[in-house]
């Protein structure tokens, strides 16, 4: 199908998803408060999943499919169980991370959230990210702005890296296959930025750029569900989301540069290109 979604249908998608996400809040908070949470290790040892991850995803997927039988699901747990590579079609597709920041969740660091994004005709149109421990509910749908707990949010006006507080996933240094590029890029970005943070949740970090708490964020090698909802929230807040090369962002291979302004995004891309020129790990 290729028909455009109507405004009222878009609003319905948003309202139903919002209600379901809020419904999961008490369950997530229950898990967060437990002294010890049952968990097992999958894929990489630091990518933890908990029983709450599964329970929350079940509530979301059952609720969304019941309300919108024509829609499809791409979710972290569903993807882990089915072992198949997800594919995005034109059908309305919910892209779900039941708990983003599971390590924070387990250690009771208040940077963890439920993330639900919706793509139609391969375009992101709804994003909802809920952090119950910090009482933060970020939401957006196409053309209607971005909100935190019902209040409008907007990116900062920072245009240069020297003024910017950046976020970077320094934990990626742990992964051998992507270590080299991340050390070089971290060095280039952190040595030029006014400050660097790492929160351990991609979804929330995108929201912190949307609110202007951070000014830029670069990350690669994550999954669609890590980025989908945050990307639409950030663009509805006035920010820029593009591929690391500067080309169009692809949610299914979400290597991205996210920034408060297009000028800042260009600054970040230039630094990443400079990082790529570093040889033999010598820094000066």
């Amino acid at each position: 199908m290729s028909s455009a979604v109507s405004e009222s249908k878009l609003k319905e998608y948003y309202d139903v998803a919002l209600k379901l996400v809020l419904k999961c809040g008490p369950l997530m908070q229950e898990g967060y408060q437990k002294a010890k949470t049952e968990y097992k290790v999958k894929a990489d040892f630091y990518d933890l999943v908990t029983v709450y991850d599964k329970q929350i995803e079940d509530i979301l997927t059952e609720g969304l499919v019941a309300a919108f039988p024509e829609s499809l699901i791409i979710g972290e747990e569903e993807s882990a169980v089915s072992q198949r590579q997800a594919e995005l079609t034109d059908a309305p597709t919910w892209i779900i991370d039941p708990i983003d920041g599971t390590t924070n969740f387990i250690h009771r660091i208040p940077h963890c959230c439920i993330s639900v994004g919706l793509a139609i005709n391969k375009e992101l149109v709804v994003g909802i990210i809920y952090n119950p421990p910090a009482n933060e509910l970020f939401s957006a749908y196409k053309g209607h702005g971005a909100y935190l707990n019902g209040e409008p949010i907007h990116t900062s006006k920072v245009t240069t890296i020297k003024q910017a507080v950046i976020a970077y996933e320094i934990s990626l240094i742990h992964a051998a296959g992507v270590r080299d590029k991340n050390v070089k890029r971290l060095y280039k970005m952190a040595s030029n930025a006014t400050g660097t943070r790492c929160f351990g949740s991609a979804a929330l970090t995108l929201c912190y750029v949307a609110t202007g708490q951070c000014d830029a964020y670069h990350v690669e090698d994550l999954k669609p569900w890590d980025i989908a909802a945050g990307a639409i929230i950030l663009t509805e807040a006035g920010g820029t989301v593009c591929h690391t090369s500067g080309s169009k962002f692809d949610v299914m291979k979400p290597d991205c540069v996210c920034a408060a302004t297009p000028e800042l995004a260009k600054n970040v891309i230039s630094l990443i290109e400079e990082a790529g020129q570093i040889t033999e790990y010598t820094f000066k």
Partner: protein
């Protein structure tokens, strides 16, 4: 001077506790303002705000009214005042950071703390840290445990860096004179640690180690007020706090590794040493 008694510690703690709560209220007032009057001092990213000064003035005034002979070591005080000391003596000395995480404060990133430590005979005996955005009040007295909102807190039992969540202040890469040292260390700690985080609030990171939210934290080139109260909190929560290369922690030059266990602390120390032996990241050892 005579040794400090438990009764003295209790009195001083009971005095400062409500003031730390009030200081947190002043901080929140500033945190929630849409715009702030920001001036720049020293390096361009080390900013001070009206509220930094307001909180410090409030605390100093209250302390001096009750204890006129007490001394201060604090971020703003070092710029102005008769009771300010450039060195730590045996006199009761308040070591205060009115807002730790000022760059977070300006951006409303929720890692901001008021930190109040008290040293007597050069030993920290009381620590009160208020993170009002997260509604957490950390308290500790020498020999009497560590608490958050009145409940006991304890460090994690993690003994291996491969399982550890470690905080490392990567913003230090912005300081060019130490950038090369830190990128090498970040490489080795990051390669081995399960996860790295960076919040740009030393006091909060110390509290998170004390509470077991983080397993370890390494930092250098900070000031006494960044680490005074938090270092006692970590120790009273059962953790270890040492100089990065294993010697005693020195409050006046507070380079430190703190961790839930000595075993983990040692592993991080070894990784820092390994980083320092490299000429560059992944490069050959320095010829010495």
């Amino acid at each position: 001077m005579a040794g400090v008694s438990q009764a003295d510690i209790e009195e001083l703690y009971n005095f400062i506790h409500p003031l730390a709560i009030k200081a947190g209220e002043i901080l929140m007032e500033g945190y929630e303002m849409a715009s702030k009057n920001v001036s720049i001092k020293g390096d361009f990213y080390d900013v001070v705000t009206d509220y930094d000064n307001k909180i410090e003035d409030f605390l100093m005034e209250k302390i001096l009214a009750r204890y006129p002979d007490h001394k201060f070591i604090g971020e703003e005080e070092t710029a102005k005042n008769n009771n300010v000391s450039g060195e730590l003596t045996n006199a009761p000395t308040w070591i205060i950071d009115p807002i730790d995480g000022t760059s977070n404060f300006i951006k409303q990133i929720p890692h901001v703390c008021v930190s109040i430590g008290l040293a007597i005979n050069k030993q920290i005996v009381v620590g009160v840290i208020n993170n009002p955005v997260q509604k957490k009040l950390f308290t500790t007295k020498l020999g009497q445990g560590a608490f958050c909102n009145g409940k006991p807190i304890h460090v994690s039992s993690c003994e291996s860096v491969k399982d550890a969540n470690v905080a490392y202040e990567v913003s230090l890469l912005h300081v060019h004179s130490v950038a090369n040292k830190h990128i090498k260390r970040i490489y080795h700690v990051g390669l081995n640690a399960r996860r790295l985080v960076a919040y740009s609030c030393v006091v909060d990171e110390l509290c998170m180690v004390a509470a077991g939210n983080l397993d370890a934290f390494y930092i250098e080139d900070m000031y006494p007020w960044d680490c005074a109260a938090g270092s006692l909190l970590v120790k009273e929560a059962g953790g270890v706090v040492t100089h990065p290369f294993g010697g005693p922690f020195d409050i006046m030059k507070p380079d430190l590794i703190c961790a839930g266990t000595e075993k983990l602390r040692k592993e991080i120390e070894d990784l820092l040493r390994k980083g320092d032996q490299e000429e560059s990241v992944g490069g050959k050892p320095v010829q010495k």
